[in-house]
Symmetry: C2
Subunit: 300 residues, 2 copies
Amino acid sequence: MNAAIIGLGLIGGSFARDLRETGFASRIIGVENNPAHAKLALNLGLVDEIMPLAQAARSADLVLVAIPVTATALVLKDILDAIGSAAVVTDMGSTKHGICLTVAGHPRRGRFVASHPIAGTENSGPIAALPGLFRGKLGILCDTEKSDPDAVQLVRAMYDAVGMRLLTMDSDNHDRHVAYVSHISHITSFVLATTVLEIEKNTTTIFELAGSGFESTVRLAKSSPDMWTPIFMQNAPFVCEALDAYIRNITRFKEMIERGSGKELHTTMEQANEIRRVLSGMNGNGTTQGSTIVNKERAE
Amino acid sequence: MNAAIIGLGLIGGSFARDLRETGFASRIIGVENNPAHAKLALNLGLVDEIMPLAQAARSADLVLVAIPVTATALVLKDILDAIGSAAVVTDMGSTKHGICLTVAGHPRRGRFVASHPIAGTENSGPIAALPGLFRGKLGILCDTEKSDPDAVQLVRAMYDAVGMRLLTMDSDNHDRHVAYVSHISHITSFVLATTVLEIEKNTTTIFELAGSGFESTVRLAKSSPDMWTPIFMQNAPFVCEALDAYIRNITRFKEMIERGSGKELHTTMEQANEIRRVLSGMNGNGTTQGSTIVNKERAE
């Protein structure tokens, strides 16, 4: 199969590696605006050739759009206009509702499958592409009832090839849940970096005093502004709702410290400790969580 | 040498492992209020025996106090009263000013060396003790001019034995810098866990959607409330100053999203990206930072 990958960064480049390695794609066409990245992707063997967008779309059986979400929304209609009648298009964006809206009512809407692989690192560009990045991670397919069954099947097979588990949910729920779990943690990390760089003016002190805890908490602040600016803008309502709750909670935390309410602080942190059990896959009664599907998600 | 370790948790237990392994201590006496932890520490071979505090202090050449900072402040005078004339006491607390105040003017103040090993994990108890936890990490000695030179020398040798680099600074500066770099990142992580558990009521959804980014950002929220409550209380002025800046910055970030100021958001995140260079040990002009000592730190 011919796959075209639009955007040869962390996600697109990692898919390029795995789709070739697993034999899912026999030929990989890259589309990349940044000439240095295009050259690097060729040199690294991520893609077989670089083409302009429309030509790549016409030549591919499967088109993966792995560019910032605003850019995805801009080019998706053009891609659907250009592809062959049996070809399939999927995107990798971290927001889904706005992207789905841009192709709502498009005559070829059925050839598009909205998806989101929840995987990544804080690095970017073709150099950040990692083999096996997606293995064991979760992918989400959205609004699959609006896609043709064979298109959904192909995208499922692609995620399966790179070793991802899959959930389906509607795009609005997707955006709410990822705002609550993923987007907010990127913002708290960006703001931590901003704040520490601001108040600890001597960066050598930060370097010297940073323990592994600080490094872990601030890791996401190294992420790409090109990728995250459009995500926060597109998902503003849910992101701001999450931030309101966060700001309320951190203000309360500060007030407990100011008041010297040790007991309240202790209780608050004990409750936060619950995240250990949640992330280990144990639910409240100590049993392992099943692969329960996200609430309000719909069966295909 | 006989070492007594007060508190056999993550830090005390890890020192027990390394001081024995390196031959720095030939006999290790443990003091531990929690009977289950005391038994576990014996079973794990962390300590040779368990003794009451005063007896342990009398029997040791070096006493390490590795308990929460409020508890340290409570027992430090008793320990100084009990030790032999040549014995040395050091603590491991993440705040230093309050602890130093409690022994200011004590006739044996010179036998105490205030210290802080910047190392740890989010786990606690003797089971969390790790060999090699301190290797390559930074330790800080505070107000060393108030300690006898031979006492400072012994504590230096101890940190050297476990592989730590050392800085010296005054306790007030220490508390300010660790509030700005370490304490604030624990709070942002605790509050992230609190917020996500609050707004994403279905914990299975958190489990399913949590990527490695969320896990990294929220890791410190698993830390011990017993340890962190007293730290935040003792270091309240500097911690609240850092939190004020953080709350101001996250509120600004939210307002940029609400206003749809993509350009401002992008610039803010680009500036936050600077943390990558700072943590990699590169300064502004791209050269590697020397082992410059923290500002306002004083040479011994």
